[in-house]
């Protein structure tokens, strides 16, 4: 297998292009930063790389969107045809038991779960629209090209990124159509890869950006899109559930939103700090749909989309330092999501704008490759920081148990605001990573999940099928192992092979060799790029890297 240095030596040098700003990832954060920069500095050259086949192809979110940041980015977004056209018409917060449900009276619902003024959207569609707006402003967007490598200058500052090589065969050798990657150099490089970005992760380590901060934790969100019979459509209805099927102290909840055009989007989010290796987020989501309170919304309908994504748990205590020489982290690559409000797109857009507002004067002053300290300073003073501070303990209270979580969320989000206290006077901290929370299988019983019925619940492969996922077959697996013996020796032996359960796409399969021994088979082609394996693997042996650009899911309307 040839590494990139050898490929450059034999096929190079790589072509290079210079820009003022290079953005990695055409999601809400990356596009917002590109748009804002062009609004402030029309002459700046901005390029956005996107590993998906088109903007929006890898975007998956609930989503209920708070338009606050969009109002700031495009005050006339309505006239520009932004696909925020289904206002929230009602909120239900349900506590589920195995067969029943209790609706929380509106006056008792904490304010973070009120969604009046927000919109039920397909974030994938919003991103497609943002990409059009960005291109109209002169931003160059290149979908189908993955940023695979961070470039550093001799001083150790970030100087851009290189796109992945194309046409490397399974064996790791250049194939017939081999194309060497290309260097995109920027005065500033902004990383907007989403939660657990694979370059962002390298930057956090290289520049020690998490020093003195809480440990970032994540959840996995699994989502489906349904077309329901017209009589079941309740456009704008927003439902959140707690309780069943989550048992004990596992953090998780469901969401179900009615879009326009008889579409319902629904999904389940589970904290990746769960302990039981037998837990299968995918199967929890499937059985959650069979609850009477959920099936009532979708029965008789048809599932038309599926996907999954890891998300930050969003405590400002765990936000890393977001700037380093030559660049910045924005959106979920930094971790601005507000878990208590179950919303991140407004935070992504806002953080992208704040970063652009720091870059514009820096570029005008002829600066390059330095630290954009004005960006974190502006964040400190922003409404986004105030919003995140209000709910900073939300997820952490739940780590202390469901009852404590519910009571303290009530105190912080319901009682204190009534007393005029918007930000709680105490702060909780977490220093345990999700993978450390997994416990050996010996302490648990396997969970018997119901078989899919093919109408409301499905298996993994049928699900991946409707995510429109594909990868060029003849390429090295992009799920890499630091040590190939670990999956069987540790993961299977001690933890019962948890990757076969937490992966929502059936990438990891333990199979028996002819000699009766076990082996981990990696079906990399199924990968929906959710990054859960990179987060939850107990010894952090699995490392997610970008496959060939254009691969992965092709989400439509997700």
């Amino acid at each position: 297998m040839m590494n990139t240095q050898e490929l450059i030596a034999t096929h190079g040098p790589r072509e290079a292009m210079d820009y003022d700003v290079v953005v990695v990832g055409a999601g809400p954060a990356g596009l917002a930063t590109a748009i804002r920069l062009k609004q402030l500095a029309p002459d700046a050259s901005v390029v956005v790389l996107e590993k998906g086949s088109e903007p929006g192809a890898h975007i998956l979110s609930g989503a209920v969107m708070d338009p606050r940041a969009m109002d700031e980015l495009f005050p006339d977004w309505k006239n520009r045809g932004a696909p925020l056209d289904q206002a929230v018409t009602g909120d239900d917060v349900l506590f589920l038991s195995e067969t029943g449900s209790t609706r929380t009276p509106d006056w008792l619902v904490p304010r973070n779960l009120h969604n009046d003024g927000c919109y039920v959207v397909s974030l994938s569609n919003v991103v497609k629209w943002m990409a059009q707006q960005a291109e109209a402003l002169g931003v160059e967007i290149f979908p189908g090209f993955a940023a695979a490598e961070v470039l550093f200058d001799v001083q150790g500052c970030v100087a851009g990124v290189a796109t992945g090589n194309m046409g490397i065969t399974k064996e790791g050798e250049p194939g017939e159509n081999f194309q060497l990657g290309m260097e995109l150099r920027g005065k500033y490089t902004v990383f907007a890869e989403g939660a657990r970005g694979h370059l962002g992760k390298q930057l956090l380590a290289r520049y020690k950006l998490t020093e003195g901060r809480d440990t970032q934790t994540f959840a996995i969100g699994i989502k489906e899109l349904w077309e329901v019979p017209a009589e079941k459509a309740q456009p704008g209805r927003v439902v959140h559930t707690a309780g069943w099927p989550m048992a004990g102290d596992t953090f998780g909840g469901g969401f179900l939103y009615h879009l326009a055009d008889n579409q319902v989007t629904l999904g389940f989010v589970i904290g990746l700090d769960y302990a039981n290796p037998y837990l299968s987020p995918f199967e929890e989501m499937q059985r959650w749909k069979t609850h009477p309170a959920i099936r009532a919304h979708i029965e008789g309908g048809k599932r038309i989309g599926y996907g999954a994504r890891a998300i930050n748990n969003g405590t400002p205590q765990a936000l890393p330092k977001t700037v380093f020489p030559g660049g910045a982290l924005i959106g979920c690559d930094a971790g601005y999501l507000n878990a208590a409000r179950i919303k991140g797109s407004h935070a992504a857009i806002k953080s992208g704008m704040l970063c652009a507002e720091a870059m514009a004067p820096a570029l005008a002053a002829g600066r390059a490759q330095d630290e954009l300290t004005a960006y974190p300073e502006a964040f400190e003073k922003s409404w986004l920081n105030a919003e995140l501070q209000q709910t900073r303990n939300f997820k952490l209270w739940f780590k202390k148990g469901k009852t404590v979580g519910q009571v303290m969320t009530g105190v912080e989000q319901w009682l204190l605001p009534k007393l005029g206290v918007t930000s709680p006077p105490w702060t909780l901290h977490n220093h345990k990573a999700d993978h450390e929370a997994l416990q050996p299988a010996s302490g648990f019983q396997p969970i018997a999940y119901p078989k899919p019925d093919g109408r409301l619940s499905f298996d993994r492969l049928a699900s991946v099928f409707v995510s429109n996922t594909n990868h060029e077959e003849n390429q090295p697996a992009h799920l890499t192992l630091n040590d190939a013996t670990v999956p069987v020796r540790i993961n299977l032996a001690q933890f019962g092979g948890p990757e076969s359960r937490y992966c929502p796409a059936g990438v990891y399969e333990f199979v028996q060799n002819a000699d009766g021994g076990d082996r981990l088979q990696i079906n990399a082609q199924n990968c929906v790029h959710c990054k859960t394996c990179d987060i939850k693997d107990p010894t952090q042996n699995i490392v997610w890297v970008t496959p060939e650009g254009g691969g992965g899911p092709n989400y439509a309307g997700m």
Partner: protein, 249 residues
């Protein structure tokens, strides 16, 4: 020689298409669109002919909505020199496209027209043949090899029993099969160069072509799902089912 290549914008091959609830067609709202893979092979073949010094200019043509410009830019990123879009929001059936292409062939006078053998959306496999007929020129369909020698085009065709080789006088029409070539990756510098290549936009009326559909779609339905199998207790039960339920013995 000049080559004209026709490219169609279709639902991407990775997308699992879904029939609209009212049965009038396939839902393409928010769905990823890209160049018909057979047309990509056609563009690649033309570019290879140009790289061999056989072709002098490659003109890519697309017919359809304004977004087909993106498809043409892709063709130009692979190596086509310029693009022509015949823009219309009307439904275009193969006969209408063949007529539009005929009008363009008469304007551009290419020695070779290369098209995909069929589009992966409607699977018609008609446009190339109709174009050859309308032009009254030779055709080489399902090509797995294309060679130009002495002003003639030798086309190896994939037919049921094996391979057939035909020699066509130019101008000729060739449609591409899957094994003709493997299209190259488009590179970032070529995408940027493609943005600066000329792209002309015409209307069907400019070519004097009436594109009104001649065929009417009555309904579009999904194939019925496969029924689950059953286990039978013994051979007698199996024979009984084959006789009385499946009625095959």
């Amino acid at each position: 020689m000049k080559i004209l290549v026709a490219v169609k914008r279709v639902v991407d091959y990775n997308v699992k298409v879904r029939v609209k609830a009212d049965g009038t067609g396939v839902d393409i709202a928010n769905v990823k669109m890209s160049m018909n893979p057979f047309d990509e092979i056609a563009v690649e073949e033309a570019v290879r002919l140009k790289e061999k010094g056989v072709a002098s200019e490659i003109v890519a043509v697309s017919c359809g909505v304004a977004q087909c410009q993106e498809t043409l830019r892709t063709a130009m990123a692979i190596g086509a020199d310029r693009g022509i879009l015949v823009e219309t929001g009307e439904e275009l059936q193969p006969l209408a496209v063949a007529k539009l292409l005929k009008a363009l062939v008469e304007q551009e006078k290419p020695a070779l027209v290369i098209l995909g053998k069929q589009a992966i959306d409607d699977d018609c496999n008609q446009t190339g043949q109709m174009l050859a007929a309308l032009l009254g020129r030779p055709q080489g369909t399902f090509a797995s090899k294309v060679e130009v020698e002495d002003g003639r085009v030798r086309v190896t065709r994939e037919v049921d029993g094996g391979l057939e080789t035909v020699s066509l006088a130019t101008p000729a029409v060739v449609t591409t099969d899957l094994r003709l070539n493997e299209p190259r990756y488009v590179t970032l510098p070529n995408i940027m160069k493609a943005k600066k290549k000329p792209l002309a936009v015409l209307k069907p009326a400019d070519l004097g072509v009436d594109v009104a559909p001649r065929l009417e779609t009555l309904s579009v339905r999904e194939p019925s799902g496969r029924k689950a199998g059953v286990k039978v207790a013994d051979v007698a039960a199996l024979v009984d089912k084959l006789k009385n339920e499946a009625k095959v013995v």
